[in-house]
Symmetry: C2
Subunit: 377 residues, 2 copies
DNA sequence: TTTTAGCACTCTCCTAATCAAAGTGCTAAA
DNA sequence: TTTAGCACTTTGATTAGGAGAGTGCTAAAA
């Protein structure tokens, strides 16, 4: 990162701050009058010109005030903003809501995306925890009418996946129960990724008389594990984007909306992007444990994505973990001109909260320890 | 319904037709030139004036062409449009998709809303089947970690509801299994509404030794039935509304969006409205069995809802049935100026398709008959 | 050498003015 | 009862002008 002279930095910061608040291009006079730098507009003009030359600022037309470029935003986010741990007013009520009312993972994630939207006044999104990283709590096979059975799969984090399967003949309850028991004994505590591997290997090592069950298990679970690979995205509050003056041009708004609703494009890009961050995180983790909470929050500004539709937007994301493994992402999407300090704080807060709820012993009381000891090395 | 003179009706129809296509106010000259009525613009002007006086037309300013009022739209929809059974191009592929790939109710409904949006080019929505009308297939209790159990509830239509429940102590598997069996024996084939009633009554009549199980059942199912009362709404394709010229005014669009995303208001109104239609349907059913398919499609135009945000929109809805009981609604939401004949056709087609998939023996093969005989009179 | 004051210049935004186009309502003729 | 003719109204697009805001440059001041 280039080391700008201190005064220049100060001016850049002021400009960003002001521009984010007002949305209007900022002129030299405005800066001189409203912030007490002891400098005349002319001096500030010179400074502006330099900053523009270096690529931090631009002006929309020959003689308007300056607005930051993406590079300017980036510098601001990386080195100029003071991280302020904002106090979320309703913190207590929110925690309460989580612990009391929300049991199912779907509900938790849904509420979380809603919450992100409400606290940020922008759009909130949550990726469901990575399916394959989830640790199996139990499998259950139950008869479900003629030639049908219902397979439910419960993970430690409270995620339930189910599937209705066909079989060419009825399997009696007793055998289904036996099947459930065997699988639970063998695989409880394994991650689902391990499960889908093992289910194809382990067969050979088992006693002959169980082999029939394994064939069944292979068939049933194979279907379920295979079909359930995709992860859900919870997205809420896109309507908040409507109020933003940067989208008063209808075309832009429309493009953005269509683009976002086509979840696959943007979010899968984001996921890939974040996965690489996660790797970096891991290696850094030992070194700088102090600033961790905010280090794992990632800000992506406008053209840092390859998508033209996102050119006026920024995304603040955070990883959330389960069993000390990063398993999912959540964050907010808003205009580039957003209040980054607050947003970073909100995302960070929520992400920690989700982690607590998902694994911190608050959600499945007393479970987490036991489960971890179960977990094979 | 007032009986307008035939020529007037013809002109009204032409105007509607033209206006819906172009979105521009229609003038007398346009009508005279493009449709051959053998009438001069002046005559048509006179006719317009009469129609306006009667409330079917209006003009946005002193001297533009005419546009229909809501009353005009209503007359058009009720008596002027010819119902045309449009051929959905991909009909075969769509059926295939339903029967092959979609097993879980959630997936079906989700796909349906997507399909409605795609075929209509507007927004599509689906109400999940009324919870209490669903017929129980089976209940299953499974242990789910320390002091927890997983209750799953499967209905004949393939709807699965589940809940993770706390209990102050562990209940061993054997007892849970016994509980499941008892409940299945007693309640399989009953609707969930009946179930939630019976579960509170039946206790007394049973043998003493089962009473403990009933207490458990009451507690567990009570929680599940109570908490799961709300129905889901699947909504897709709101972005299609963006292209509509009537919403080029950003404020309107924004209002509509916020209003619709606040699902409760509009959709709960719609539900109430439709429920009353359903009652009327029932009594008419015996009489006019012929035109039935389209009779159960309902069009709601702009100000026929009490919501100002909906003033430029229309909704085409259809009831869908299970076991000959209306259980849910689906439809599309678009601008008032929509191609009603096609839309009615699309909604009608999809609603029949959904019925087939949900109950017609295609979804749970061979189940429906047996289940119905199980069903207590 | 750095900062400041002064001034000409540029560009946007707002308003008013003008003009063609579209369509009506009315009157009188067919 | 229908039609032709014509004056009238309103919109929308275009143009022009002027105020406002802010810059860049130059020369003076610190």
């Amino acid at each position: 990162m280039v080391n700008l002279k201190e005064r220049k930095e100060k001016i850049l910061q002021i400009l960003l701050h002001h521009y984010i608040r007002t949305g209007q291009p900022v002129g030299s006079k405005t800066v001189a009058e409203n912030y007490d730098l002891g400098l005349s507009p002319a001096t500030i003009r010179n400074c502006f010109a330099e900053l523009e030359e270096e690529g931090y600022l631009t002006h929309p037309y020959t003689s308007a005030g300056r607005i930051p470029t993406d590079k300017g935003y980036r510098f601001y986010v990386d080195s100029l903003i003071e991280i302020q741990q904002i106090v979320v007013k309703e913190e207590e009520r929110i925690r309460h809501e989580y612990y009391l009312r929300l049991k199912r993972l779907e509900d938790i994630l849904n509420y979380t995306s809603y919450l992100l939207a409400r606290l940020s006044h922008y759009a909130g999104f949550v990726f469901s925890p990575k399916w394959e990283r989830n640790v199996l709590q139990s499998v259950n096979f139950a008869p479900a009418g003629e030639n049908k059975l219902l397979v439910t799969l419960l993970t430690k984090s409270g995620l339930v996946k189910y599937s209705l399967l066909d079989n060419e003949r009825n399997i009696d309850e007793e055998r289904l129960r036996r099947l459930s028991r065997i699988l639970n004994r063998m695989f409880s505590g394994f991650s689902l990724a391990e499960l889908s591997e093992k289910i194809y290997q382990e067969i050979d090592r088992e006693e002959k008389k169980e082999i029939e069950y394994f064939k069944l298990a292979k068939r049933f679970l194979g279907q379920l594990l295979f079909s359930e690979g995709k992860e859900d995205i919870y997205l809420e509050g896109m309507n908040n984007i409507f109020n933003m003056p940067e989208f008063k041009d209808n075309k832009k708004l429309s493009d953005l909306f269509k683009f976002i609703e086509e979840k696959k494009f943007f979010f899968s890009w984001l996921k890939k992007e974040l996965n690489s961050i996660v790797k970096k995180m891991k290696s850094e983790k030992e070194l700088t444990n102090s600033n961790w909470i905010n280090k794992r929050v990632k800000v992506t500004i406008g053209s840092e994505t390859p998508f033209p539709e996102m050119r006026d937007c920024s995304v603040v994301t955070s990883v959330y973990e389960m069993d000390e493994q990063p398993v999912g992402f959540l964050g907010i999407l808003g205009p580039k001109r957003m209040e980054y300090p607050q947003m970073i704080s909100v995302v960070s807060f929520i992400s920690q909260l989700v982690e607590n709820v998902l694994q911190g012993g608050n959600y499945l009381k007393g479970e987490s320890k036991k489960s971890r000891s179960n977990h094979p090395k």
